[in-house]
Symmetry: C2
Subunit: 176 residues, 2 copies
């Protein structure tokens, strides 16, 4: 069993392939969302089954699934978990357990149309609990590495260009 159950050989293979051909580092990721009525929708990603989304009753939903801002926190936590597992394994550190608690504050005024301005999270906090026999210095170095290289962390911590377009054919159809 490899350290932390991480398939380092694949990672090292990918690193080598990218060093030979840097264009192999360019990746594109996709998801498709279908609205299913009310505040419910579902996401399809590759061949995986649909994952549902809903809002709590207090926000007008039917409370059948986590809501989008909770999903965003989950994506950050999962991304950090991959980062700790990968970088710990490269450094030869064994993780016994890793738990991440995430939270974020959000003011509903803009979403509800009661004010202009920022509709999103004001800030996001993540608290990482690591159980390991590694030294505190090694854990701190791991932590610094992970936060400096997290794809979801950087996407949230920086302003990313978002292009949200209406499909033209549907607009045409709407005229018909």
């Amino acid at each position: 069993m490899p350290i932390n159950n991480v398939d380092l050989e694949s990672v090292v293979g990918l690193v080598g392939a990218i060093q030979e051909d840097p264009s192999r580092a360019s990746t594109t990721w996709s998801a498709a969302v279908s609205w299913t009525g009310g505040f419910r929708s579902e996401v399809r990603i590759r061949d995986f089954g649909p994952i549902p989304s809903d809002e709590p009753a207090g926000l007008g939903g039917t409370d059948t699934a986590p809501n989008p801002v909770e999903q965003l926190l989950g994506a950050l936590g999962n991304c950090l978990a991959v980062g700790y597992a990968a970088n710990a394994s490269v450094a030869g550190l064994e993780l016994k357990s890793l738990e991440i608690e995430l939270s974020g504050d959000l003011d509903l005024h803009t979403f509800l149309g009661l004010a202009n301005g920022h509709a999103g999270f004001r800030s996001i906090q993540a608290r990482v609990s690591i159980e390991s026999d590694a030294s505190p210095e090694a854990i701190e170095a791991l932590h610094e590495k992970v936060t400096a290289t997290s794809p979801v962390g950087h996407t949230l911590g920086r302003a990313i260009p978002l292009v949200i377009d209406l499909a033209t054919d549907q607009r045409t159809e709407a005229v018909a």
Copy 2:
């Protein structure tokens, strides 16, 4: 059956409550992530069952679930879907269907430790297909409203303060 199956009464009730007491717009959302070995983890949100996360085999994972950056795209699409459903319903527009395709480009150099810099999505695109009898102008106005008020959209499109801390007790435990 209310328009678009949206429980507008709850939304209007929340708006009224916030107008009486603006502090009721302050919300906090949470998620808890547990690493389960390799590049796998799971998220727990409120009382909902755990939602798994993994990486594709090419990235060293076991490909049992969508990965964190795909989950992030899904969260954006779900958030936009709530926005369209809510604002269409307030405007009295019936949506027959709503599909959102999302994609984002990501360069792996930083995540893999091959370069410093931005590890996240360079940009994110969402393509929204709406089927409705509403006029193109009404659909366009709906679209403008949604993109101006999307909590996940604004969280991605702006730089959000992220605080990622190691739990102190665990650091102490690591010394023991």
